[in-house]
């Protein structure tokens, strides 16, 4: 059973729907989500399967508009909590956990052996030793490239495992000479620059450094950060000019048109590239090049999660459904329909999709760790200050010292020593 709602009307209507559903003799589990059409259809299919196996339970999904959801969740968790709610892992769920609005579901993890099967997501689902989330999907980040642009500039195509950092920078020189942007991005919404920064940072100093930096444990004036900005500075001259004024979709157009060669992005961009006319023949994927030799390769893979709310009226059946969502079978089905990666290691991915296969391989061999992305690993306010600094550095590299000093001040304010 699925309802689609938008904006302010959503809450009131959800209330009415919930009461009308109560009248049936099935046990109702309510679930608030923010799906686009394709994920929504996939979720409906999951619900149908679950209800077939558990005929006494009725899952009522209320779907919100994606942007409206971010505000709506803050109201409905307090005012009229559903049993289940979609949100994100790591620091993004922290405010709700600390306000006691998401419930501890460590028992679901323990009972279903999820620490084993969802091993890669244990850290991002855990706060203070307890699990508060069921991760059911993630997607890899990496470099998407246009093979035609490589040919046009006379640059050798990257090999299966990507290229070395020196080779990548040398390629960039060639692209520049050919009038093609080596690395493109559209940072008017800030977060795309965080992807580039995170990779430079993780390849320079490793996963633990990324994690500590995002947690405010590392000084922005430290030599490690200086090394990251040295490398970031090497990339800076090759990034699309005026990226600060364009959206990530506009930059995707540059890649599609062959005006740019590489794009550090998440796998969700593949749909946009393909809508623009690219195919598996000219769109390529590689992992971000190794910078410091010997640093274990870590990857970014932001995870989407479902949570049990503290105000849940039917927590027992909701937990049954959560266990189902965590299962390999459900994750294979949902992610197969949506084109993302399952977090359950026993699930399988569509072998015909080269990007999913590449992503699955990249993540399963990432011995360094799986990062959630700068704006999910760091506290919201700190994340924003950081991203503004990264964007400014890409526009005004000469302001480096001022940027680092300002970030350090912000750090000392948010995390008093």
């Amino acid at each position: 059973m699925v309802h689609t709602l938008k904006g302010a009307l959503a809450l009131g209507t959800a209330l009415m729907l919930a009461t009308s559903a109560m009248a049936q003799d099935k046990r109702v589990v309510t679930w608030n989500a923010d799906y686009d059409p394709i994920p929504l259809a996939a979720a409906e299919a999951l619900i149908a399967d679950f209800e077939a196996a558990n005929p006494e339970i009725d899952i009522v999904l209320t779907n919100f508009d994606h942007e409206a959801y971010k505000n709506a969740i803050r109201n409905f968790l307090t005012a009229d909590a559903p049993d289940l709610a979609n949100w994100y892992a790591a620091n993004r769920m922290r405010p709700f956990v600390e306000a006691g609005l998401f419930a501890d579901i460590s028992d679901v993890w323990a009972k279903n052996g999820l620490n084993e099967s969802l091993a890669s997501s244990v850290l991002s689902s855990t706060i203070d030793g307890k699990q508060y989330a069921i991760p059911y999907t993630y997607y890899q980040w990496g470099i998407y490239y246009n093979r035609d642009a490589y040919k046009a500039a006379g640059v050798d195509l990257p090999a299966e495992g990507g290229v070395s950092w020196d080779q990548f920078l040398a390629n960039c020189e060639k692209f520049k000479a050919a009038g093609i942007d080596c690395v493109t991005t559209g940072s008017s919404a800030l977060w795309p620059v965080a992807g580039i920064f995170d990779y430079v940072s993780m390849r320079t100093n490793g996963y633990q450094f990324h994690s500590d930096l995002a947690a405010g444990k590392i000084s922005w004036t430290s030599p490690e950060v200086a090394a990251v900005f040295d490398n970031f500075g090497k990339l800076q001259p090759f990034v699309t000019e005026n990226h600060a004024a364009i959206d990530w979709q506009d930059a995707a157009a540059l890649l599609v048109q062959g005006k740019a060669a590489n794009y550090v992005m998440g796998n969700f961009a593949v749909g946009v590239f393909k809508e623009g006319g690219m195919t598996n023949d000219n769109l390529g994927f590689m992992v971000f090049p190794e910078i410091t030799a010997g640093v274990a390769r870590a990857e970014e893979a932001p995870t989407d999660t479902i949570h049990l709310t503290s105000g849940a009226k039917n927590p027992e059946d909701a937990k049954t459904f959560l266990a189902y969502i965590a299962s390999a079978e459900a994750q294979t089905k949902w992610n197969g329909a949506v084109g993302q990666l399952p977090t359950n290691k026993n699930a399988s991915v569509d072998a015909n999709d080269p990007f999913l296969t590449a992503g699955f391989n990249a993540l399963s061999t990432a011995t360094g760790g799986i990062a959630q992305f700068w704006d999910r690993d760091a506290d919201a306010e700190y994340a924003k200050a950081g991203m503004e600094g990264f964007q400014q550095f890409l526009v005004q590299p000469d302001q480096r010292q001022a940027i680092l000093d300002r970030l350090e001040q912000t750090r000392l304010r948010i995390y008093p020593q």
């Binding site: 803050r74 968790l77 008017s188 005026n242 600060a244 004024a245 306010e381 924003k384 400014q392 526009v395």
Partner: protein
């Protein structure tokens, strides 16, 4: 007893009661939708709160006293916003002379003048969101008209909205477009009321051109100028929609204004610092109060002179 209740009964005659009855609906709305939110905002500005209630519906904020204000004083983003607001205030005043000029230009009787007037008024009728989008495309790098123009003239295109030094001016120009139209309409109606006999008399005395405008026309337009200044000042201070549509305050926060910064801090994706946002709102309110009390004082004085 009877003596004590008598003055009360006398006070509530129909004449003294009627004004309050007529005022009551307005006062009620004003209290609920203006006074009460102001009190709440000021109260909230002394708290550190992420906008969440816990599951029992209890407020989760903590009292920090003047902490938010102390932080504002040291916040470079707040300083940028304040400066940008000042730029808006000063440059927005350009709408007055330009609007007046266009109004005088259009204040003539030729065939089809109504069509021209409507065309000039058009930008004020369309939504600010549409104005913002039009200008964002106009400035857009790679395909925007302005970018292509500068590219053909200087050989290198200027992407205004990506340039931290130019971005605020770019947005102000977009804001001036509808504001000029607004001021123009105010002056056009004002010009209708200019006494023809005074102009006739001035002409006989040999006044024309600038002197006629300055000494004869403008003094008669004072009520229109007064309103135009008020709407322009308020328009400049609440410049939120254009910033939000065109840049989201970027690049790296260089086009923020106070109202946008408040939104970012209180309701933006990386914000939800309600107390800090409320503190910004209180500062913005204080700045507006300077102008508003000035206007009210002037109106009160004018009323008394009559």
């Amino acid at each position: 007893m009877a003596q004590a209740s008598q003055p009360v009964a006398r006070r509530w005659t129909q004449r003294s009661l009627a004004p309050w009855l007529f005022l009551a609906p307005g006062l009620f709305m004003f209290t609920v939708y203006v006074i009460w939110p102001i009190i709440q905002s000021v109260t909230l500005s002394f708290f550190d709160w992420n906008g969440l209630y816990n599951k029992d519906g209890q407020f989760t904020g903590t009292f920090v006293g003047m902490g938010n204000y102390a932080e504002l004083m040291r916040d470079p983003a707040f300083e940028t916003s304040l400066w940008n607001n000042l730029k808006w205030l000063v440059l927005y005043m350009l709408a007055l002379p330009i609007g007046l000029f266009i109004a005088i230009f259009l204040n003539q009787t030729v065939t089809g003048i109504r069509v021209y007037k409507s065309l000039f008024f058009f930008p004020f009728v369309i939504s600010q969101v549409v104005v913002g989008l039009i200008f964002a495309w106009f400035y857009a790098p790679n395909f925007g008209l302005f970018y292509l123009l500068t590219e053909s003239v200087f050989g290198k295109g200027t992407a205004i909205l990506a340039d931290p030094d130019l971005v605020t001016y770019g947005i102000i120009v977009a804001g001036l477009w509808p504001q000029i139209a607004y001021v123009m309409i105010l002056y056009l109606t004002g010009l209708n009321n200019v006494a023809p006999d005074q102009i006739e008399a001035a002409r006989l005395d040999g006044a024309k051109g600038w002197r006629m405008l300055w000494y004869v026309i403008l003094p008669q337009l004072r009520p229109a100028t007064f309103i135009a200044v008020i709407v322009t000042v308020i328009g400049a201070l609440r410049s939120f929609d254009l910033v939000s549509i065109m840049t989201n305050g970027g690049p790296f926060g260089s086009s923020r204004v106070l109202s946008y910064y408040m939104f970012e801090m209180a309701l933006g994706e990386y914000g939800f610092r309600m107390g800090y946002g409320a503190a910004i709102a209180v500062v913005l309110f204080a700045i507006m109060m300077i102008f508003i009390s000035g206007f009210i004082w002037k109106m009160w004085r004018d009323e008394k002179e009559r």
